[in-house]
Amino acid sequence: MPLVRSPLPPSPRITAWALACGLLLGGGCDSDSGKPKGYGLELPLPTDPLRPAEVRGPIDTSTKTADYAIEATLDAETHRVAGSERVTWRNRSNGPIDALEFHLYMNAFRAGDTVWMAEGRGSHRTAAQSDEQPWGYIDVTAVQRVDTETGLSFAEGQDPSVMRVELGRAVPPGGVIELDVTFETQLPFVFARTGFADDFHMVGQWYPKVAVLDEVGTWHNHVFSYHSEFFADFGDYVVDLDVPANMEVGASGLLRSEEITGERKRLRYEAQLVHDFAWTASERFVEHRAEIDGIVVRQLMMPEAFADADAHLEAQREALASMESRFGPYPWSTITIVHPPENADGAKGMEYPTLYTTDGKLTLPPFVAMLGFRERVSGVFTTVHEFGHQYFQGILASNEWEQPWLDEGLNTFSNSLVFEDWHGPDPWVVQLAGNSLHMNDYVRLDLREHAGRGVIDQTASDFDRIEGLYGVNTYRKTMAVLRTLRNLIGTEAFDEAFGEYTRAHRFGHPTGDDLERTLVERLGRHVELGVPDDALPGSASVKLDVAEFLRQGLHTPHAVAFGIRGLLNQAGTSRAGYHREGDELVLTEDDGDAPAVGTLVLERTGDFVVPVEVEVLFEDDETQRFWWDAKTRTRTVRWPGRRIAKVSVDPDGALELEVQRFDNHRWARASRDRDVGGAASDAAELAQALALAVLGGIGP
């Protein structure tokens, strides 16, 4: 099924609505607003926030730590949410707890000198805080202990994105406490995930949320900084939303009830075994509803983007199929995909439990399309990626501040597997006149700039924004590390081991150590790769040290780089000349039969020590493959009596961490004329084409 559909051209809202009504939906429009009614609305919503037990598999509910019952009223004019919540929290540590720590994420946008705003200078991705728009904040006005009905003292931390509540009386290990918290949240103009743009409201990180307490009683209540995302415990949510009646609403979990009173409506949502709750509301949303394997998928779209609905749904379907087969069943019964409007770029591409925001597909000018430009990443990759977070953060709820690579990197890696499952091995992402740029090419291009710089395993706050290494290390390099390991040891073994990690830590807070330990345990410390160049019967094969590979890949900035330092077919040693025979010197004529010696000098130019496969093509067209452990910087290999035509280091491109590939291939001098279609001749033909087009197009 083709991925690229023709989106509507940019046009005034009413025109788009009319087109959507008439051409796309076929279901007519709402008579009052003229807005399209939507698609698939006859599909009933599920009855349970979780999928049936036989589908979702067993769930250990003992991980539930913090339950929330929230009431929230949206003032759509001031973009303010008045709320109250009852938090039920269980002490799962080994000691008594006399204070609870909370995240007040929205306070990151309260002033220019919060940690977040100071680091980001008020901007995020392509959007920025505007002087004409309100500051965002969350103001906690009261905290009360339910059992004693007493008000508790609370105070913000040094940064207002955290808060501490003194409990008065400690909660013993295994004990439960209930708190009532009253708050008011002012949404900012949406420039960093959450906020409003006109009537569109993306309400995320909007309520006081208890931080994570670990087993030994340490709070993980990080200050909200520029690169950090979120971390929370699992629990159940019951959320009552009071919004204007003309707004379409989407939220984490399942809609339980809807009651309209005059110009307001009240909706109750329930979500189970989630660690966050987000919601969205807009007058302009049109719903596209579908069902995949019993999961109801709601897409909330602006009418002008409605033509993209099928492409996103297909991406969602493929992502779900791939990830369920690899990482276990998706446990919830709903998925809500939010398509923010054009003026809300800051809200695009963000994940929340059972709900995520995506991005629109690229509209190509006809001229570009005529040149044969095709792509299959815009919009749909965001859908695949943000859905992937339902696993890598939604189910495997790692600490996104301490180890951001565990959600972004593992998710990006899993996205690459989705694309392989969807489009086949080595999928292309961009095509230009039939020439493909593959997914690993794309990652290599990104890594090129930063090879050998920065470490993957560091906290979000350790990444310097100006240095610009957060994205490349956390997302792409992590993906390249895992893909390289997978290529080296074999997809089946790796997928089994990685799958074990995802199954063992469902609804937990796995760490990087958990991942490394699982991989080493399941794969074995040393994995045999193949024979070395000097292999004799019974000799040891080259092995990969999995733990050492992960140490270098995740904890050092070492770059993978190989080259061919020398390639020579040396003339054989001649017997011509004088040799002593008894007392006499006897002259030997040159018979010209001295066999040549093919000589190759391999070089590891990067600091990353990893075995590499080498392929040698001899002049008689025979090939030989062997592995070099690369523990030394260079390795000289000789083939007496054989002449080498070409050498390829890592011929299959298994080392996706290696960004410079040119010096991996070399022809012997005598065989260079066999290098047909090399980059130099490609460049020459392209230059000729350009010249002929210029001369012929401008000429006569």
Binding site: M370, H438, D682, A684, E685, A687, Q688, G696, P700
Partner: protein, 267 residues
């Protein structure tokens, strides 16, 4: 079919221009290949279907190579424009059936007038196109495209016309009215406009196709002869468009009425 006949009678002209293009392009390609070879040293390519990445890597390793290729192309563009400024009157005279000596003489004599009228033409073309873009600006892209193609194609015909009139006929050599009249005459004659714009559009499409083939051909198989065949198509199309005007005869303000079938516009 006067125009096409006029063109077919001049195979030497066609082949000569085409071979010049081929030679210039081949020279340019050789320079690029030598530079790339020097940059790569003995390294080869993987031959694993990642040729586009290999090319991008080459340009990333040697950005001067890309800059040189782009600069060279722009240089060729400029050189081509200047060359045709000089050659056009000669070629137009030849397509009108004049002998080689006569064509050369006419071309040299009309060189100054051609320079002036080309200048006036580009001034009028810039103003006209700006006006057209202003008027069609609110239209969707797919509707704007044909209008722009007709405007550009018609302009090319108008340039041929003013050059023909000052070279072969007695149009005012220096006054702007000659260039303006050529525009009016071209855009008042639907058949001339359709043929000229059609040929100009075809020429542009062939140029785009040549670039497309160049990109498509990245990899093991050579496509240079396909590119050269397309180049021949561009030369033929361009000369045919010029031949239409060369065989139109003298045109005057009185001919602003629908074209007389006998005036050559039936091409």
């Amino acid at each position: 079919m006067n125009a096409l006949r006029g063109l077919i009678r001049r195979p030497g002209l066609i082949v000569g221009i085409w071979l010049t293009h081929v030679a210039l392009a081949a020279g340019f390609g050789t320079i690029v290949e030598r530079s790339a070879d020097a940059a790569l040293g003995a390294s080869g390519t993987a031959g694993d279907g990642h040729a586009l990445y290999a090319l991008i890597e080459l340009l990333a390793l040697q950005p001067s190579l890309g800059a040189g290729a782009l600069g060279g192309s722009l240089g060729l563009l400029l050189a081509s424009g200047l060359l045709w400024l000089v050659l056009s009157p000669v070629v137009l005279a030849s397509l009108a059936g004049r002998s080689a000596t006569e064509s050369l003489t006419l071309g040299v004599r009309a060189l100054g007038a051609n320079l002036v009228q080309t200048g006036w033409h580009w001034l009028l073309r810039a103003v006209g196109l700006a006006l057209v873009m202003f008027v069609i600006g609110p239209l969707p892209g797919m509707l704007r495209l044909p209008v722009v193609l007709v405007a550009l194609g018609g302009s090319a015909v108008a340039l041929d016309m003013v050059r023909t009139q000052v070279t072969l006929h007695d149009a005012s050599r220096l006054h702007i009215r000659s260039a303006a009249f050529a525009f009016v005459r071209t855009f008042k004659d639907p058949r001339l406009l359709a043929l000229g714009a059609g040929l100009a559009t075809l020429q542009a499409l062939l140029a785009l196709t040549t670039i497309w083939v160049g990109i498509w051909g990245i990899g093991p198989s050579s496509v240079v002869w396909i590119e050269r065949a397309l180049s021949l198509g561009m030369v033929l199309t361009g000369l045919w468009r010029m031949s239409v005007n060369a065989n139109l005869g003298a045109v005057s303000l009185q001919q602003l009425a629908p074209a007389d079938p006998g005036d050559g516009a039936e091409d």
